[in-house]
Amino acid sequence: MDEAGTGTVLWMTDVVKSFGGNRALCGVSLGINRGEIHALIGGNGSGKSTLLKILAGVLPADSGSLKVQDRAWNLRDFTPEAARESGLRFVHQQPTVFPSLSILDNLCINGQYSIGLMGNIRWGSTRRRVLDTMERFGIDASPNQLVGQLSPAMRTMVEIARALQGQEPGSQSVLALDEPTAALPSREVEMLLGMLQRFASQDSQAILFVTHRLEEIVQVADRVTVLRDGMDVATLNREGLSKAVLAEAIVGRPLEAFFPEPVAQHPASRPVLELDCVNGGGVRDLSIAVEAGEVLGIAGHMGSGRSTVLKLIYGATTVESGRVCLDGRELALHDPEDAIQAGIGYVPEDRLGHAVLPTMSIADNLAMVSPRDYWKGGRHQRKQEFADAAAAIKTYGIKADSPSVPMNSLSGGNQQKVVMARWLRRGPRVLLLDEPTQAVDVGARADLWRLIQDAAAHGTAVVIASSDLEELAHLCERVIVLKEGTLGIELNGASGLSEDDISHALHDLEAA
C-alpha cells in the first residue's frame, strides 16, 4: 500500500516535541489506513506515548500537522475535544477510568446512559446495555462495583470496553491503544486481539496499537512503525515479520544470543520462605516452600489470586489464618514494614497506583525502601544517595538525565525499571515480583531477567506472579498454577518448563 493511498484515514507529519531541553520526538510521520492494525513499537522512552498523547490532544506538540477526516490540523493547538470530534478514541498507558465510580458509571459517563422522556436516566435499560457490554468484553463483575477495587487487568478491560463500545461498522474513526495488554493475562490478551482483528477486518476500523509483546505484533499487525530516540526509523509490512526482526528493529542492532540461556538448577538448600495453610484475601489453604536461590513462578487466570499470594507474604493483605515463615521462624506480619524488616521485597502489579512516588526524584524513589541507610551522623547523606542512584541508573539502563528528575517525567518502562532497581540492588532474602517486566522493551526485559537470575544466584528466594508465560518458562524451575485462590497444579520441570507446559496446565485446570 502506498503511504498516502486512498485508504489512509489518518496522517501525521513531522511531529516535534521537546520537554525542557530533551527532544522526545524529532519529526515523526505516520499514516494509518482504513481497516489496518498498525503497530507502533520502540524502546522505552522512544516517544510512543508522547506521540499518542499529542494525537489525543492532551499534550501540545511543538510543531507538526495532522490530517484526519479530510481536515488538516496544526498539532500545536489540537484539543481533546477536536480529537473526539475527529473520531479518535484512546486507551492511554495511564489509567483514565474513575476509581471511585462504578463500572456502570465509568462505561456511561461519556453520555451513554439511556435517557427517559423527562431527562431522567432509565436505569433498567442502561443496566441491560452495560451488562451486555461487560459480557462482550469478559468483565466478570457486578456493574455496581467500584472500578478502584478492580485488579489492574480488569480495570484495563473496563477502559478498553469504554473506548470500543458502540463502534459503528465502517466508521471513519481511529482507535489508538497504548500498551493495553501490559497488565493482561494471556486469555484476556487473546480475547482483545481477536476483537481488534474483527473490528479491523469486518468493520474496516483503523487501529493504532502500542505493545512491547512482540508475539502479539506478529500475530495481528498489518504494518509496523518503529520509533527509536524520537525518530521513525522504519515501517515494516506484514510479510516477513518475526520476533527476531522486530527485536532487531527496536534495539537497532542484530541480536544473536538475544534471549539468555534458560534456567540453571539452583543447588538444593533449606527453604527460606514457607507458607503453611495460609488463608486470607480469597486465597485458601495455600502451602508452598521456596528455597534460597530458587525462582518459583505463579500462574493463573485473572482473579485466581496470584497477586494476593504475594500481598499476603508481604503483609499488605491480612493473613487470616495459617503461618508465613522465614528461615523457619514464623513472621508476625501486620504491615509491609514488618516484611521489609524481615528482608522481604515486593514489586506490585499496579505501578502507578502502588509503586511510584510521582513527584519525588528517582533518587528518592530508589532510597525510600529504607531511608535509614542514608541517615548517618544525624544527617541525610544526599551526596551518597545521589551517587548510588546514578550508579543504578547506569546498571539498570534507566533513560534519565539525572537522579534528581521527578519520577513522572520518565516513560512507563523506565519507571518500571526504577521500581525493580529499588529492590534488586539491595539483594533481599525474599523477592516477590508481580508482573516484573510489564511495560519494558525487549532489550530491557532480557536485562531484567538476567538481573533476577543474578539475585537468585546470590541466594535470594524469588517468587514471580506473571501472565507472561515466556517469562515464567524462562526463569522458573517450578511453577504453581492457581485456581480460585487454591493451588491447582504444581509443575516441576527438572529439565526446564516450556511455555506450552504452562499453558496446557492453565487449560487443563480450567476444564477441570
Partner: protein, 325 residues
C-alpha cells in the same frame, strides 16, 4: 547538585526566589514611602513586627507538618489558645513557669492524640476532624475562662524574657527560629521526614515501602499538637495576657503561610523556609499597611488573598512539575 539542564534551571530559580525578592522590595517600598518612611524602619516597629510573628511562625510549623502528608490541621490556632489559657491560669494560681510550659505542651499532645486517633483509626477526614476539635477546644476554653482574659498573675519574668530584646530583636523570635530549624531538620534530614513526603506523594506506595502510614500520621498529629500547644506560651509572652479569643484567629494565617511556601525556596513543594518567608511577607505587609493608615479590614484582605493565592499557586506549580521536568 546536578539538577536539570541550564535551560530548565532559570525558571526554577526565578520561582524559588520570587517571594524572597518581593519581601525585600516591599521592605524597601515601605521604607521610602512618605507615609511610612519614618516609622517603618524604626527599631520599635521591627521589634513589634517580629515579636508578633513568633507565635505565628511556630503555629505555621504545626500546620506545615501535616500538610506535607496531605493532611489539613485546622485546629492549630485553637490548640495554641488552649495552651495559652491553661498555662496562664496555672501560673496565676502560682505554678512555676516550667510547669506551665509542660501543661501547654501536654494539652497540645492530647489534642494531637485525639486528631490522630480519629484520622488514622476511625478514618475520619482530617478537615472534618480538626474543624471539630477546634470547635470543641473553643468550648473548653470558654468554660475554663468564663470568656474573660487572664490578665493578672502572669510572672513578669516570662513576658520579660520572651519580649525582651537580644540585638534589637525580641527573644521570642529567636525561639521561633530555633523551632523552625528543628522542624526543617526533622522534615529534610531524618528518615521520618522523608516518609512524610512519600506519604504525601502516594499514600498507597508509601505504605508498601514500609512507611507504616497509620503510626506516622499519629506521630505527625502529636508533634503538630505539641508545637501548637507550646506556641501558646509565646502568645502569653508577647502580649502579657491570655485571651480566650486569640487562638483560633491564627489558624488561617498559619495555613495560608504554609500554602504560600510552595512559591518560595523549593517551588512546588510545601517547605519550611518558604513558610517562614511567607509569614515575614504577610507580617511586613500588614505592618506597612497599618502604618500607612489603612483600615484594619485591609489586613483581612491581605490574609484571605494570600490563602487563595497560596492554594492556587500550590496546585498550579504542582501541576507544572508533573508536566515538565
Amino acid at each position: 547538585m546536578s539538577s536539570g539542564t541550564a535551560k530548565s534551571r532559570w525558571p526554577y530559580l526565578l520561582e524559588a526566589s520570587g517571594l524572597p525578592i518581593l519581601l525585600v522590595l516591599m521592605c524597601f517600598f515601605f521604607s521610602v514611602l512618605p507615609e511610612t518612611s519614618a516609622s517603618f524602619a524604626s527599631i520599635d516597629n521591627i521589634r513589634i513586627t517580629l515579636g508578633a510573628q513568633s507565635a505565628l511562625i511556630v503555629i505555621a510549623m504545626a500546620a506545615l507538618i501535616p500538610l506535607i502528608c496531605q493532611e489539613y490541621d485546622f485546629s492549630v490556632g485553637a490548640t495554641a489558645g488552649l495552651g495559652a489559657v491553661f498555662a496562664a491560669s496555672a501560673m496565676a494560681a502560682g505554678a512555676p513557669i516550667i510547669v506551665a510550659i509542660a501543661i501547654a505542651i501536654v494539652l497540645g499532645l492530647v489534642v494531637g492524640l485525639v486528631n490522630g486517633f480519629l484520622v488514622t483509626t476511625a478514618g475520619v477526614n482530617s478537615v472534618v476532624t480538626t474543624l471539630g476539635t477546634a470547635t470543641l477546644i473553643a468550648g473548653v476554653v470558654a468554660l475554663k475562662t468564663e470568656s474573660k482574659s487572664i490578665v493578672s498573675g502572669i510572672p513578669a519574668s516570662l513576658t520579660d524574657f520572651i519580649s525582651g530584646e537580644l540585638f534589637g530583636i525580641p527573644r521570642g523570635f529567636y525561639i521561633a527560629i530555633i523551632v523552625t530549624v528543628g522542624v526543617w531538620y526533622l522534615l529534610r534530614q531524618t528518615p521520618w521526614g522523608r516518609y512524610l513526603s512519600a506519604i504525601g506523594d502516594n499514600r498507597q506506595a508509601a505504605r508498601l515501602l514500609g512507611a507504616n502510614v497509620k503510626r506516622r500520621l499519629l506521630s505527625v498529629y502529636l508533634i503538630s499538637g505539641a508545637l501548637a500547644g507550646a506556641a501558646g506560651i509565646l502568645l502569653i509572652g508577647d502580649t502579657g495576657t491570655a485571651s480566650p479569643q486569640i487562638g483560633p484567629g491564627y489558624t488561617l494565617p498559619a495555613i495560608a503561610a504554609a500554602f504560600l511556601s510552595v512559591a518560595a525556596v523549593q517551588p512546588g513543594r510545601f517547605n519550611v523556609w518558604g513558610t517562614l518567608i511567607a509569614i515575614l511577607f504577610l507580617g511586613v505587609l500588614n505592618s506597612g499597611l497599618y502604618l500607612a493608615g489603612t483600615n484594619p479590614y485591609v489586613n483581612d484582605f491581605a490574609n484571605g488573598g494570600a490563602l487563595i493565592i497560596g492554594v492556587g499557586l500550590a496546585s498550579l506549580l504542582g501541576r507544572n512539575r508533573s508536566q515538565q521536568a
